[in-house]
Symmetry: C2
Subunit: 237 residues, 2 copies
Amino acid sequence: MSKPINICEIFGPTIQGEGAQIGRPTVFVRTAGCDYRCSWCDTLYAVDTAHANDWRKVMAADVMAEIEQLSQNTPMSVTLSGGNPAMQPLGELIELGQEKGYDFSMETQGSLARDWFSKLDNLTLSPKPPSSGIETDWSLFKDCVEAAGSKTNISLKIVIFDEADYKYAQLAAKLFPQLPLYLQAGNHMVDDQSDADIDGVLERLRWLAEKVAQDRWQKACVLPQLHVLAWGNKRAA
Amino acid sequence: MSKPINICEIFGPTIQGEGAQIGRPTVFVRTAGCDYRCSWCDTLYAVDTAHANDWRKVMAADVMAEIEQLSQNTPMSVTLSGGNPAMQPLGELIELGQEKGYDFSMETQGSLARDWFSKLDNLTLSPKPPSSGIETDWSLFKDCVEAAGSKTNISLKIVIFDEADYKYAQLAAKLFPQLPLYLQAGNHMVDDQSDADIDGVLERLRWLAEKVAQDRWQKACVLPQLHVLAWGNKRAA
């Protein structure tokens, strides 16, 4: 029996703003609910149960129908995000979409391993650094890497606000040397009711880029969040 | 007999700001001289012979020594840029560096094919759209693709200012469907004596991202120039 997916929003096509798929057109499926509560969470409306009235339970086939409508039936990239999408039963949606030529990327923090990770085309594992206020369980994280297996493109993406986050990223890179590594300059003003501090975001990008270059950290790839630069903190339509 | 390389500047490590290697630490070797004169050229100091007094002829081994000094002998990525680096004899430098574990990326407009393109690890071919004022000879461009062969990672990068540039990119994508495609939001204020117009650059990024998303152009990857966002139009030290 298939189970419904807890959906916060489905929107797009737009551009993926972050990580390995940066700059690529995609439709977003944002699931509701999260086992984390990061201090700088930029999608509290998908995390905080105070917003639960805006969430809806949708069967995989109906989610796929919405994706097809948004993409005008053009097979394209679908990004599963959250909240933590690993909390939802997404295997059936991935299968349905892939049969129709869509490909699936997902981002999750790496706290819950699911066997359907191995069906994904791209999996971004985004462990949360000290500034989030969350402690990483690297053993659970390793389970996620193993669940995805070798067919899925896995990458690490780590948000960096400060020196402690940077050190954490160095540790993560040491623990998982086989995974491509993206360092994302953090956004410190995430309230969708106020303007993003673009100058502040770019200053952090500059700081991070100079640090990585200075350290000759060849493995690291330094990126901003394109959607924040282009659209600020506004939620997509 | 090896020939000297006409060098404008060697600097880094810094972050590659554009295209397929965006965000990655690299040392830049900027060669002097160009067969093009694009209306919005952002490196006139490497192109305009009025600056020739600042250029210097350096043998490949000496260029490599400078790279090793900047990288503190850590094998890393080297980016060959210009001007048009295809005007220079770079095959020996690439071989010397690769023997020491460095990898080589190059960006050129695709107007001059060289057999040493096949030694490169990454080749960005950046044909110039109508807003540049230059007309593309697609036959010469094709020679460049063929010179690089199948071992080198080749990608297309096209600067976009307006609708005509966008149409040109669609044509390029049709002519070379096998090549990954990066669309770069253009920088309209390139004078290194004045501040970059970050708002204007981000507005063009937003326009381009929305256009590609609207067109569901799955192949395109929309990117800004990170170095302009982080450092403005300032030349690197």
